[in-house]
């Protein structure tokens, strides 16, 4: 494309400016790696929703599950007719809480003998030798014991567990001791096993979970020679009522839906590094084109066409983009191994179903990240390349080109216009729920516009330099009055990073405050009891009805509100059906009903209506997902067929993204014949000591966690801190990239001003004084970027809180400013800027006199 001249010009320039080339390459690599690592880690964490099949057995081609509740094992023989076409693997799942390490494990029961060939065990498998058939036989005999469990290699290794070792813990509230029968080894070519997976033989698992005859799903795999279509047609008409056939991807996508908010959060944040990196690249190419303006002028003078000059610069960008993206993909894969644990812990904390420990390099994700890095690099080089190609040689050769002031007034006005357009677009009236494209576009406009407008802050900050008496202040501040492109890019990059951090910080604070207020208003009970290890609405732990009755009958208890939650399939989507004691809730509790001051009359009416005219409350998220309003009717699948209910109220709920529908408990019992509950809220009689009662109940029921209102609030804060820990890490990466850009800008400015520095030295200014001037100038840029970023962040936060969350997730949040966080961010940005700029300023103050002397000798 560019010929040997191009190769000479590009490669030699890159070699001469190794530092700049490396920095540009690293900018691309860092952006690509952060973006990719988050996506890979997230993918690995979410992938664990896909279940057992990918881990220890063959992948399945289809899954059969009930529309609601468990499958009845007794109906399994109906599938005998398709055994020639497909194998069938029954699955039951449950939770086990290991008190010693305070860890939740997932119990997975299946027909281990049936898939024995797929399972390796440390006991029978001797490395380097063929499996001994008698050992295998004894092994399969041993795993049929009711307490036999197979554990992951990671768990065995970390806890030094060998076959025969006992694992004590709780299933629901019952103490249970399991014994290690074998160790599952990671198989080559398959995803690594989750650490906290306990695999049991099906009957043993059913006995341990106290769910005899029940299954959660059937996994089906097409046999060799048969086709998925044969399986599909074979199953048609054969499945019992309420059994549904779905592709494994549907299950995976359900898991993905569960973490949509979390993934959205991470993806947006992982783009910070790319966005900030784009500014740095622009800056790097701009500086490079500037430094070589004599080359471009000479080429023009020699008759080189502008298009060819443009190709030289773009080819250089393409080279750096390719190398940077390649490096970024490798670094991203490395980083993903570290971040997957953090993300996985968060997903496990929120959704109780993930424990991925490493991430595989997905070719599609790698390609996407690499392509984005490459394109960002080309985009960043486009304007400088056009300038090199189309600026007349005389202008290119003019002195002072490197420090030419930028058109900051134009930038500021354009930036303000873009910000205004973004803000207007974000608040477009009445778009249907779920539609949020305008908010995404608006966010980009605000980020871009705000960062451009930040350039306009520099002349304001530099204004005191006009009247300053001290030479140091004059020299530090006056360049800001007429900022150059370098000043502008550095401030804009920092503004993007600080803006994203501010926006996310405000959103997190608003979210946390809203939830805390919601909990404070809604959870009025004195104590909350649930099986150990229960987390969130997706928890599989259940309390037996008898135990709930016993707790309700305690002499200290005034009333008990039993809460149950069940996943159901509605209109092809997974959601939750819950049950609570409406009467107790109306008398003692509180629920935030949208559009109603007092929920009690609505709850009492629904209780009185009973099963005859079932009424339900829908969460805000449910209402958005299914497009239902108060007064709408819905048919709910139950083991006995469809049952009808009407929506009587919409309530605020921040507990899950799937949405939930709540009916009165007697209705639930009538429909599902299930008297278990997920948790019990106890209202104590007046005069009862809450702590003493909690202690007494805790001692009597070792398998229960007894929490007060304050404990719940603390847990919410903990979940928030855990959820957003990685987002803070990403924000810090964004800031670090922006600060690297600031240092790069300062060094570039110092190089361009080396004549001035030389003069100051000749006039007797000390290195410290010169470094002080440069530091002051750099800090002025940092302050402009930080203040601009804070302003951008506040507008962005409005979009995130008031538009994106309600539109995408159905969560109405109350806007709340985290003053402490904002002050900390300002301080952190300026402190880090000082720390980063100081050594650069000191280095620049000593700009090599030898070089000057040599040049002029």
């Amino acid at each position: 494309m560019t010929g040997s001249l191009g190769r000479r010009l590009i490669l030699r320039a890159l070699w001469r400016e190794k530092g700049r080339a490396l920095l540009a390459m690293l900018s691309v690599a860092l952006g690509v790696s952060v973006f990719l690592s988050i996506r890979l880690a997230n993918r690995a964490a979410v992938a664990s929703f896909e279940g057992f099949a990918n881990g220890v057995g063959q992948g399945s081609d289809a899954v059969v599950r009930a529309e609601v509740g468990p499958l009845d094992e007794a109906a399994l023989p109906r599938l005998d007719a398709i055994r020639d076409i497909a194998w069938v693997r029954p699955i039951i799942e449950g939770s086990f809480y290991r008190a010693r390490s305070k860890e939740a494990f997932q119990i997975l029961g299946t027909d281990l003998v049936g898939i024995g060939n797929s399972v390796d065990s440390a006991a029978p498998a001797q490395s380097g030798s063929a499996p001994d058939p008698s050992l295998q036989a004894r092994f399969f005999e041993s795993i049929q014991n009711s307490d036999a469990v197979m554990i992951s290699g990671a768990f065995a290794k970390s806890d030094h567990l060998l076959p025969g070792a006992a694992i004590q813990g709780f299933v629901n509230e019952r103490p249970v001791t399991l014994h290690v029968a074998g160790i599952l080894l990671d198989a080559p070519g398959r995803p690594a096993l989750q650490r906290n997976l306990l695999v049991m033989d099906l009957p043993a698992a059913q006995e341990t979970l106290q769910r005899p005859g029940q299954l959660d799903r059937l996994e089906l795999g097409v046999r060799e020679g048969a086709s998925p279509q044969q399986l599909d047609s074979g199953l048609r008409g054969m499945l019992p009522k309420n059994w549904v056939l779905e592709a494994p991807e549907q299950r995976a996508s359900s898991g993905k839906t569960m973490t949509a908010a979390f993934r959205f959060n991470l993806t947006i944040l992982s783009l910070i590094a790319l966005a900030v990196g784009a500014y740095l690249l622009f800056q790097a190419f701009d500086a490079s084109v500037n430094r070589r303006r004599e080359t471009w002028a000479t080429l023009h003078a020699l008759g080189c066409e502008p298009a060819r000059v443009l190709r030289f610069v773009m080819a250089e960008a393409a080279l750096l983009g390719s190398l940077g993206s390649g490096l970024g993909i490798f670094l991203g894969w490395l980083l993903a191994q570290g971040s997957v644990r953090s993300i996985s812990q968060t997903v496990a904390g929120l959704y109780g179903a993930s424990s991925a420990t490493h991430a595989n390099l997905d070719p599609g994700e790698g390609l996407l990240a690499g392509a984005i890095g490459f394109l960002v690099c080309l985009l960043a080089a486009w304007i400088p390349a056009r300038r090199a190609a189309h600026t007349p040689p005389v202008q290119l050769l003019a002195r002072g080109g490197e420090t030419k002031p930028t058109r900051w007034v134009l930038f500021t006005l354009t930036g303000l216009a873009l910000t205004g357009a973004g803000a207007t677009l974000a608040f477009l009236p009445t778009l249907p729920p779920g539609v949020a494209w305008h908010a995404y576009v608006a966010s980009v406009l605000v980020l871009l516009g705000g960062s451009l407008a930040s350039v306009g802050l520099m002349p304001l900050l530099g204004a005191p330099g006009t009247a300053a008496r001290g030479w140091n202040a004059r020299l530090a501040l006056r360049p800001l009055r007429r900022p150059t492109g370098r000043h502008g890019f550095a401030a804009a990059a920092l503004a993007v990073a600080v803006g994203m951090a501010t926006g996310m910080g405000v959103m997190v604070q608003s979210f946390e405050r809203t939830v805390q207020t919601w909990i404070g208003g809604n959870l009025r009970a004195d104590l909350y009891l649930a099986p150990l290890g229960s987390v969130g609405a997706a928890s599989q732990h259940r309390l037996p009805g008898a135990l709930a009755d016993e707790l309700a009958a305690d002499p200290a208890v005034l009333a008990a509100d039993r809460f149950q939650m069940l996943p159901i399939h509605l209109r092809g989507q997974e959601t939750l059906l819950g049950a609570g004691d409406f009467l107790v809730h109306a008398q003692y509790g509180h629920v935030a009903i949208l559009g109603a001051e007092d929920a009690a009359p609505i709850l009492l009416q629904m209780h009185r209506d009973g099963v005859a005219h079932v009424g339900a409350m829908a969460s805000e998220t449910f209402s958005r997902r299914f497009g239902v309003r108060v007064g709408d009717g819905m048919d709910i699948p139950t083991p006995d067929g469809l049952r009808h209910l009407s929506i009587r109220a919409i309530y605020a709920d921040y507990g899950n993204e799937r949405g939930s529908l709540i009916v009165d408990r007697p209705v639930f019992y009538q429909w599902f014949h299930d008297e278990r509950c997920a948790s019990v809220a106890l209202y104590l009689k007046p005069g009862q000591d809450r702590a003493l009662v909690a202690q007494r109940l805790g001692q009597r029921h070792a398998g229960l966690q007894v929490r007060s209102n304050a404990d719940l609030r603390e847990q919410v804060s903990f979940v928030f801190r855990q959820t957003f820990a990685i987002t803070y890490a990403l924000e810090i990466i964004g800031l670090a990239v922006a600060l690297a850009g600031l240092v790069q800008a300062l060094l570039g400015l110092a190089m361009a001003r080396r004549g001035e520095i030389w003069t100051l030295r000749a006039l007797g200014a000390s290195e410290g004084e010169i470094a002080g001037v440069l530091l002051g100038e750099g800090l002025g840029v940092a302050l402009a970027g930080t203040l601009g970023g804070l302003s951008i962040g506040l507008v962005l936060a409005q979009i995130l809180v008031r538009v994106l969350n309600p539109q995408v997730f159905g969560w109405t949040l109350r806007f709340s400013l985290p003053w402490g966080f904002l002050a900390l961010l300002l301080g952190l940005a300026l402190f880090s800027a000082t720390a980063a700029l100081l050594p650069a300023a000191r280095w620049a103050a000593r700009l090599n006199a030898d070089r000057e002397a040599e040049e002029g000798a």
């Binding site: 000749a762 006039l763 007797g764």
Partner: protein, 222 residues
């Protein structure tokens, strides 16, 4: 008494010795011209004399003080108090006005504002740019810029003025005017002048002319 002395000065850049055992002495109030072809080491010598660079061998003494033994801080102080420098490309600070550029030397010496004002007024009158004192460097002609540079270099009443081709970037009339100014002011303030030049006519204004070739002084009394 010599205000500026150099003995056996050697300065290398890599393997190339730009100055090869050069010696010289400059008396107070004396004007010395350094002539020689490009690359012979004139500018390097000027940097060493002004304490902007250090010799690899030999000794440079300014007002009796050995510059090799001075700390960077002391060197900066010596440059502030005893040396004035003029560059071929003027090197005015673009963000300071003409007056502020002259003030800069005195501010570095922490003179009181009233004293600075008086001295700057005096110099601005002396170099004849009263009407352009508040202009920005970008608004000045080359001759005007160099006049400001001369005023700035002489502001602190240095013992020695080092001028690196002060007329090299000026037209003939402006060059002559700047040279006359240099002669006049160094005479008036009894300041020694070491001037690197390619111009014989510029050199003729000096008391002595030293010719350099390949890092050595080949003609003229030391």
């Amino acid at each position: 008494m010599a205000i500026l002395e150099g003995h056996g000065i050697v300065r290398r850049f890599g393997s190339r010795a730009v100055l090869q055992g050069l010696s010289l002495a400059v008396e107070a109030g004396e004007r010395v011209a350094l002539l020689g072809p490009s690359g012979c080491g004139k500018t390097t010598l000027l940097h060493l004399l002004g304490g902007l660079d250090r010799a690899d061998e030999g000794e440079v003494r300014l007002d009796g003080e050995d510059l090799a033994a001075a700390t960077p801080k002391r060197l900066a102080q010596l440059r502030r108090e005893k040396v004035g420098t003029i560059f071929q490309f003027f090197h005015l600070i673009p963000t300071l006005t003409a007056r502020e550029n002259v003030e800069l030397s005195l501010q570095l010496l922490r003179w009181k504002p009233e004293a600075i004002r008086g001295r700057v007024d005096e110099l601005i009158r002396a170099v004849g740019i009263e009407s352009r004192a508040e202009a920005w460097p970008s608004e000045l002609s080359g001759g005007e810029m160099q006049r400001i540079a001369v005023a700035r270099a002489l502001a602190a009443k240095p013992l020695v003025l080092l001028a690196d081709e002060p007329t090299g970037n000026l037209d003939r009339a402006s060059g002559e005017s700047v040279l006359a100014l240099l002669k006049d002011l160094t005479d008036r303030e009894n300041t020694a002048l070491v001037m690197v030049t390619h111009s014989e006519s510029a050199a003729s204004l000096c008391h002595r002319t030293l010719r350099m070739l390949d890092g050595r002084i080949v003609e003229g009394s030391l």
